[in-house]
Symmetry: C2
Subunit: 414 residues, 2 copies
């Protein structure tokens, strides 16, 4: 079936889905969870096809681990759907409301987008997660996973579609797109009018392609060259904890720190400490000459290091002469994801928070906190690094639009 | 100067502007207003160049009237800026806030987009209006007006820039782009990373071009094929008032009704009344055969009529057999702007409001109410017909993004 036909089917499904009650949607989510567990063996068997292919194709052990499904991992997917059922429904929320001078009742109400396209790489567990988040927010989902997980995704989606239909909602609420060619991505990007929003989740190259070529509105996610700036007024102990945690708590996430900026006044006391601790944790520090002066193990930073999203045990490090120099550096090399300051000075933290142009500013806290789960959203479809519509971790409300409903009694405009 | 250079200058200005207080911005708006009045003669003189050119070029009287500035019209522009100064500042509003279980203080705060590009046609008063709305919401404005108003716009922008600078804010808060070639529009659409959002205001062709070709995120405005559906349970008097007002109160606006749908059960009693009143008001009714049965003066509707945004004294009209048929018709031909129902039935109005996919749904009220002024927003930059970011009339908050500011005390993620 063509992507356009699938998109048209999704659109048709979206009309019923938009009018579905929370109870109907939650019942579908719970049935989806139940069926995943019941059919775990079939899903694991389908997954084995993908895993064999990956092994033959020479994938790394880490890649194969990410791809592999076990009954436990399928159960975790089901748990995720159950957690979604427990979250409040954003649809129907009255965002703004008033009675106008002429008596008209104005209500701005949250409504689903309609059809959401998600392009993602890697793990098959994203499939159930994305389908569930879209369903809960009243949206039909067009899922374009990676070809490496196609057999797994097809098995998961078959189970989910049957469960959705058995729960009384349209099966086309969840559809998987062909992942065997690039054409399905291209068609999806051109399905303006049928698809309301596209969310690419994956590497920088994928996101760049979608952002540049899509006529469907896009929510850009994820690339993070996050900085930690240690101010002259920093508490050294907090600074050490925040820097090390931001870099090493997990290496491959978009909210991991990739750059360290240290105020010159505090460099003598702080850099020896932080270099030692980072290096003890196995981190390679790519430093400018002023950083390199504190350790022979610092690798000289090249121009590329300042803009790098390493996603590995590496960090770029520079000494700056002022908070404003740190802001300039961040403006030049940052990706608008998360920027942190460590300082005891209210003046410094206020200026930094006001002037950094990013989805999240951390004051005396690790960059790793930029996360829907940490923020208490209960579900997250990605972290937006754009400014339109949603910025930062996106929960269920970020997957909705609004509609004005204006009620009168024969009102006309004079 | 190239558009990219102007965009870079706007970006630089936007950093200071984002940190400007409400008092600073309001002072600038008031000085802009004062200077416009002081320099009204110069502006009117510059406008005369445009008007002469338009007259020589054979523009219609209506077009020339729209283009012409008088001291009174310049004073009205100044009043608009003063009204903006009186409105609350959306920047700094805390949209969401909580203290997390670990003690982190989470705040989602409204921040300016940064740089807003506005592409518009026609009237030079939009120039001051757009510049003021952008400034009040903390954004630097790149204004690309029409070539027909270039001399007027240049004079206005020169006055505004001087006032902004004299008020202590960066002059590059307001910049006019070259309107003599199409290239400036193209460059603006490709200035991703420097320009945060583009808002096209004008005809359908302009909007389509920008939506399809821009890599900068776009807020789509304005095309309106608005329907009024008169339900079987309608109060005839209210229906008559709403239909006639929606169509005739003003002919050339995007919230003017262009299509009328009448439930078959009420056609006998309602259509003779409404046809007579519409025709008496000079409206040509393009009807399907079931409508034409009620009057010899009904022009047979063609396939194009159902999707037409006439912006003139014309209306398409059809009889439908049910509310759901009306919904199907609106889904097929509507542009997602404003759809109205007239009915006394709660069941009918609730179903219509829930299932119509549009920026605004009017229940027993004229489509003409979809307007920032009528909604009490105080200012309006346009009416969004897309679902991402803003939908419906856009006031000052719709010209902002948000930023998470998370404050800890050395918090790290376990």
């Amino acid at each position: 079936m063509s992507v356009l036909q699938q998109a048209a089917d999704a659109r048709a499904a979206s009309f019923d889905l938009a009018a579905a009650t929370r109870a109907e949607k939650d019942a579908a989510l719970l049935l989806m969870a139940e069926r995943l567990v019941q059919r775990a063996d079939d899903i694991v068997a389908a997954n084995a096809v993908d895993v064999d292919k990956a092994r033959t194709g020479g994938s790394t052990d880490a890649m194969i681990d990410r791809l592999t499904l076990t009954p436990q991992r399928v159960a975790a997917m089901a748990d995720g759907l159950r957690q979604l059922a427990a979250l409040p429904d954003p649809v129907g929320d009255v965002v703004r409301g008033s009675t106008l001078a002429n008596g008209l009742e104005l209500r701005q109400v949250r409504v689903p987008f309609g059809v959401v396209g998600i392009i993602y790489e890697g793990r098959p567990n994203v499939t159930a997660d994305a389908a569930g988040i879209c369903l809960k927010s009243g949206n039909a989902a067009l899922l374009r996973g990676s070809s490496s997980a196609y057999s797994s995704n097809a098995a998961i989606v078959a189970v989910l579609r049957k469960a959705v239909a058995d729960a009384g909602l349209p099966a086309d609420t969840v559809q998987l797109l062909d992942a065997t060619s690039r054409d399905s991505v291209k068609e999806l990007m051109r399905a303006r009018g049928l698809v309301d929003v596209l969310i690419p989740r994956g590497g920088a190259a994928l996101i760049k392609t979608v952002v540049e070529e899509s006529t469907v509105p896009v929510i850009e996610t994820g690339v993070g060259n996050c900085h930690v700036y240690v101010d002259s007024d920093a508490d050294l102990e907090k600074a050490l904890a925040v820097v090390v945690n931001s870099k090493t708590q997990r290496l491959s996430t978009c909210n991991t720190a990739e750059s360290l900026l240290v105020h010159a006044e505090i460099a003598d006391s702080f850099l020896p400490l932080v270099l030692e601790e980072l290096m003890a944790a196995g981190v390679t520090v790519h430093g400018d000459p002023r950083v390199a002066a504190y350790s022979d193990d610092v690798v000289p930073a090249t121009a590329e290091d300042w803009g790098a999203e390493y996603l590995s045990a590496d960090i770029a490090a520079a000494v700056v002469d002022s908070l404003d120099d740190a802001l300039d550096h961040i403006r030049r090399y940052g990706t608008g994801h998360t920027e942190a300051i460590v300082s005891e000075s209210v003046t410094a933290t206020q200026r930094f928070a006001a002037r950094v142009d990013a989805a999240a500013v951390m004051v005396n806290a690790s960059t790793r906190f930029t996360d829907g789960g940490e923020f208490g959203f209960g579900a997250e479809i990605g972290i937006s690094t754009q400014k339109l519509h949603a910025r930062g971790p996106m929960g269920l409300p970020e997957l909705t639009s609004t509609k004005y409903v204006v009620t009168g009694n024969g009102h006309t405009r004079p």
